[in-house]
């Protein structure tokens, strides 16, 4: 397999941003007919390498060759024309246009000057059929699930006759069976001789689907490995450059927290529900405990959190926090009652991109203090610096715009925003999504530390091992209802997956 011809070769790529050497003399090569995983922690340089390849950024130095010819993409569009297509984490389709329109946007078949809709739809259907996706191509893309949208984006790339397909975190919002489907498509593309670059944080998936692995760290190339011969622990060590003591340390932390858990309900939900999002449920949360919510995407995990925090209004049941009933519930009321909520969609509901790290951190605290009880800038900086240090947020200054930070650091800024309000109850929805192993461990540890201090946490994650590692008990959701509660001795991946799959006995 190693003898397959290189379609893509990148040599000596360097790129500096003000204050950061994002890429330092990095080599990368891609064979035809291979799935090549590009791995590294946040800020390792994966995104920059892809941006250089796809013409978003110009390299300071280095050579890129596609099929033996030297190329330099001037823009993402130009890169596509050259045969390099990207499917991003945040899918960039036009939700209001039809599936077929999206696939053939800018390349619509024409007849006498106007668009030939029949051929347009037929062509789109043909591509999707090859991918074994059965949908109506005339419906607008926004109506379909993220998984389908991804297939549409891949179809679009194929239509432009891509030689190289880049999948940037394609599975982070997919359910398990959708991921399987995507992998099947990836293998099919590989069979056609395409080179696929696969960027992900899920190591399982790397081992399941990739042929080779390139690891970057701090903008430098660590090495290129054959997936089949690289032990997992070694891969992790390459990625984070240190061993995994921290992860093992975790279980000890948790035991401490569990033993100090006191049985005093701080949150009480009775028959709380909202039609169409989550069926009525009872829930008691106690001081010092971490409650995990497990379930597939769309099973009602986020909807439960939204109800508890007052983002959505319930249409049945009651909720009381610290003994006080929550009426006219809103996020602000929740904050006043000592709650905090890191929402699932960091970009849409979490960060405020054009504001600085400092302003993002003090936002919820200031909202709680009200319009006129203003935190002086000096005090704001003090608070921001404190949490930048505490959570080791890597930013040049507190006055950096938060949109310029990497995903993991943005997540930490949002955590800082909530910690600054000194909450008693934290709801964390996918707090570790799309961030690197090191930061993941830090966040999990933080959750357990907070629980140890007597705070209550709800921990929502798609990754079962993470839920199991952090939680004292786990609620399992299926089809918009809480279907089971598991005590510590019943908590294991097998049981949870069984319940999610629908086997209740």
């Amino acid at each position: 397999m190693a003898d397959a011809p290189n379609i893509l070769t990148m040599r000596g790529i360097s790129k500096a941003f003000p204050g950061v050497q994002a890429l330092d003399d990095v080599d990368f090569s891609l064979h035809s007919g291979e799935i090549h995983a590009l791995l590294g922690e946040n800020g390792a340089g994966k995104s920059t390498l892809i941006k250089v390849l796809t013409g978003v950024e110009r390299p300071d130095r280095g050579v890129i060759e596609l099929d033996g010819r030297e190329i330099l993409a001037k823009s993402p569009h130009h890169a596509q024309m050259l045969g390099i297509s990207t499917v991003y984490q945040e899918i960039n389709l036009c939700p209001n246009l039809s599936v077929a329109e999206n696939i053939l946007l800018g390349r619509e078949p024409r007849w006498a000057g106007s668009i030939d809709w029949r051929r347009l739809n037929a062509r789109a259907a043909q591509i999707l059929e090859w991918l074994e996706v059965d949908i109506d191509v005339r419906q607008s893309v926004g109506m379909y699930s993220v998984a389908i949208q991804q297939m549409v984006a891949i179809s679009r790339a194929l239509e432009i006759s891509a030689r190289v397909l880049i999948l940037d975190e394609p599975t982070s919002s997919l359910a398990a069976h959708e991921t399987e489907k995507l992998f099947a498509v990836m293998r099919k593309l590989k069979g056609e001789g395409l080179g696929v670059i696969f960027i992900t944080h899920f190591l399982d998936q790397v081992y399941e689907v990739s042929d080779r692995i390139t690891v970057l760290r701090n903008g430098k190339l660590v090495g290129v490995y054959d997936t089949a011969t690289l032990p997992r622990v070694e891969l992790v060590a390459h990625m984070i450059g240190r061993n995994l003591d921290e992860l093992q340390e975790m279980s000890r932390y948790k035991k401490d927290a569990a033993s100090s858990a006191q049985k005093q309900a701080v949150v009480q939900a009775r028959a709380l529900g909202r039609v169409g999002s989550i069926g009525p449920f009872d829930l008691d949360l106690h001081e010092g405990e971490v409650v995990g919510l497990a379930g597939l995407l769309g099973s009602g995990r986020t909807e439960t959190a939204n109800l508890l925090f007052g983002v959505d209004k319930p249409d049945s049941g009651t909720l009381s926090v610290a003994g006080a009933p929550m009426t006219h519930h809103s996020p602000l009321r929740s904050i006043q009652a000592g709650m905090a909520y890191c929402p699932e969609d960091r970009k849409a509901d979490g960060i405020v991109g054009d504001l600085t790290v400092r302003e993002n951190i003090v936002l919820a605290l200031q909202a709680n203090r009200g319009w006129f009880n203003y935190l002086a800038p000096a005090r704001q900086r003090e608070i921001a610096d404190k949490y930048i240090k505490l959570l080791s947020i890597s930013t040049p200054t507190a006055d950096q715009l938060v949109k310029n930070l990497s995903g993991g650091n943005q997540q930490k800024v949002i955590l800082a925003r909530w910690l600054a309000t000194e909450p008693n109850i934290l709801i964390l929805d996918e707090p570790t999504r799309g961030i690197d192993i090191g930061a993941k461990a830090e966040i999990q540890k933080l959750v357990l530390t907070l629980a140890g201090e007597g705070k209550t946490c709800i921990f929502i994650s798609s990754e079962l091992d993470e839920v199991l590692r952090t939680s004292h008990r786990v609620l399992v959701l299926r089809d918009n209802a809480i279907v089971a509660e598991l005590a510590p001795d019943e908590m294991n991946e097998h049981t949870i997956m069984h319940i999610i799959a629908g086997g209740t006995e």
């Binding site: 809103s330 996020p331 602000l332 054009d354 504001l355 003090v362 919820a364 200031q366 319009w371």
Partner: protein, 343 residues
């Protein structure tokens, strides 16, 4: 080289930089070509001259720009400021009445009622945008169109002329040798600056304008922030309406503040606040308004026919807005870097 580039960058990224450059260019033009533009003289203890004229005539526009800055920063827009000015001019003149040297209503009450009407207009806009979730451009279009009708109803379709000299003081009076309008602008600017930079309101406005959803999740009452912005905007437009009617001693419902909403939007954009919301600069908007006013005054001083004024104005605006554009930024950066290398 890097230090020079970063020095340039810091200067260029200052929101007041480009409006000041444009203003300096217009002033430089006047220095060379308009005789007596910079001459100031004192007549009857009052300061006179083209510069004073720019400031005085620009007052209503500056006020509208200050108010509109808050609205645009929340990612909205208010097209009704001109119409609100017309309504308030009509209300104020109607309350004063057209009897020589006598007012039908005590002057303080005139001001209070007029500004109350302005606030009602703002509440209307704000509720449509924040509670009924109507797109700002559409929501404020309603009052933009209806407002002139309302103003005409108030004036009975007539041009109301007032003959009560104390009322003229707002638009044409002098205090300490300077036009009184300047003091009004200064007071409103100071108020706006204090309320946005010395309370959390400024932070919340920028936060809501950048990402309303994130702000809501963080406990910011984004609906009330928007409401307050629209109320403040109409309030400023109301003051502008009083100044205009006082200055021309009358209220013509069809002409007070006509098309001024467009000039005000331009002033805000020139001042560096993006139409997409977020970061805003009050001082930038004031400079933008001054730029537009000084271009107008310059052209008049030059004896150019009024038809040309609009064209020249649009050219100046185009120039400034181009300076903000991304390709121009890149080009200027390159230029700066090359210069840095040579030096």
């Amino acid at each position: 080289m890097t230090s020079q580039a970063s020095w340039w960058e810091r200067l260029r990224n200052n929101s007041l930089f480009w409006p000041l450059v444009a203003l300096a260019l217009v002033m430089g033009f006047n220095l060379l070509f308009t005789p007596n533009f910079f001459r100031l003289e004192i007549k009857d203890g009052h300061l006179f001259g083209s510069l004073v004229d720019v400031l005085n005539r620009g007052a209503p526009l500056m006020l509208m720009a200050i108010g509109l800055t808050a609205v645009i920063a929340t990612a909205g827009v208010d097209l009704s400021v001109g119409a609100v000015a017309a309504i308030c001019a009509a209300v104020a003149t109607r309350l004063v009445g057209n009897v020589t040297d006598v007012t039908a209503t005590p002057l303080p009450l005139v001001i209070l009622v007029t500004l109350g009407v302005a606030i009602l207009c703002g509440l209307w806009n704000g509720l449509l945008v924040s509670r009924a979730n109507i797109q700002p451009m559409v929501a404020t279009l309603v009052l933009m169109v209806a407002g002139r009708g309302i103003a005409q109803l108030i004036t009975d379709g007539q041009i109301i002329t007032v003959y009560y000299p104390p009322f003229f003081y707002f638009g044409a009076g002098y205090l300490l040798g300077l036009p009184f309008t300047l003091f009004i602008v200064a007071a409103v600017f100071l108020f706006a600056w204090l309320i946005t930079r010395r309370t959390a309101i400024g932070l919340f406005v920028e936060s809501v304008g950048t990402n309303a959803s994130s702000s809501y999740y963080s406990g910011v009452n984004e609906k009330n922030i928007k409401l307050v912005a629209y109320v403040f905007c109409s309030f400023c437009a109301g003051i502008a309406g009083i100044i205009i009617s006082s200055n021309v001693k009358s209220a013509d419902a069809n002409n007070v503040g006509l098309f001024m909403e467009l000039d005000a939007i331009l002033a805000v954009v020139i001042g560096g606040t993006l139409m997409s919301g977020g970061r805003f600069s009050l001082a930038g908007s004031v400079l933008g308004a001054l730029l537009i006013q000084s271009v107008t005054t310059t052209i008049y001083a030059f004896g150019v026919p009024p038809e040309v004024v609009l064209v020249v104005k649009s050219l100046v605006v185009l120039f400034v807005v181009l300076l903000y554009s991304e390709p121009m930024k890149v080009a200027l950066d390159k230029l700066a870097r090359r210069k840095g290398v040579q030096a």
